[in-house]
Homo-oligomer: 166 residues x 2
Amino acid sequence: MVRPLPFDPIEEAGRQWDQRWSGSAAMQAATSIMRAQQIVLARVDDALKPWSLTFARYEVLVLLTFSREGTLPLGKMGDRLMLHQASVTNLVDRLEQQGYLRRVAHPTDRRTTLAALTAEGRAIIDEATAAVVKASIGVAELNNRDQQDLHRILKKLRSGANDFSN
Amino acid sequence: MVRPLPFDPIEEAGRQWDQRWSGSAAMQAATSIMRAQQIVLARVDDALKPWSLTFARYEVLVLLTFSREGTLPLGKMGDRLMLHQASVTNLVDRLEQQGYLRRVAHPTDRRTTLAALTAEGRAIIDEATAAVVKASIGVAELNNRDQQDLHRILKKLRSGANDFSN
DNA sequence: CGATATTACTTGGACTTCCAACTATCTGTC
DNA sequence: GACAGATAGTTGGAAGTCCAAGTAATATCG
């Protein structure tokens, strides 16, 4: 557990940083992102505990739900989720062990493995999503305007990181 | 390595999400935060490679630099960096092994361990910071206005997560 | 003063992420 | 058609994060 402070540590770090170096606004932005990620992750993970899921594994299931057949090649999932192949292998291992999906052979390309939602996986995803939405997906303090501003600003960052072309 | 997509996967996820559930703006904001953190982390870690440092360990050294004596109790570092005690122990272990700091006994409270910058730790921090600043602390695409907006919006989130009192 | 509670840190385990190396399978070219 | 190169996935290892439990030392309170 982390104890609350009587002051904002990122504001304080900005003051100290300014006394020695330049770029404190960038430092505060970067540090805020790092911390915000921890907060969102902890909240969503907490909301998903009833299903023994984590945000990472939940996202895999959601992505499969988005596909018509409930089936996708592992590589394609890595692309969409912006995850390394090894991370996908890991997540699929665990989800398979939990019975939420299973690995299926690709009909024509024997290199490819498909992840396929099981009935159980399909059954829980709406409940789990209801819990995640109830937890405001970890961003309860932000109104719609804030959420959109955030998305817009971070899109610049992601675009520059080659997350998508153009 | 992650392959770039011809479209923004977060925009696409928003479209799909809207067809089934509510709260897609929150989902996009949360997902953007998760992804932005990965990007910033990868960039800063990359900039710190010449010193075999990571963002996490670098922040420990910066925090020590901010203290007059270059010395802080591990617990206080955890509070400021918003990290669990176990994470601080881990980071201090590694930094001690690298010779950038050492553990020192607290003069009066024998429960407490102080982390103290070594001469080497003090010597590299300015160079390392120059490299990090040169990498725009991972947020090169954001202008000053964006950086401040981001900081302001995420502060709401952090405040609600009890990072600091009011 | 002594028992209890609190605080500080460490340890072991779980999870996620990455990278590098490896196997298996396709693809494309000569 | 055979061989080189690309692609798909897995494995092992490193790093960071957390939690829960454990040890040691200090504080509190009856």
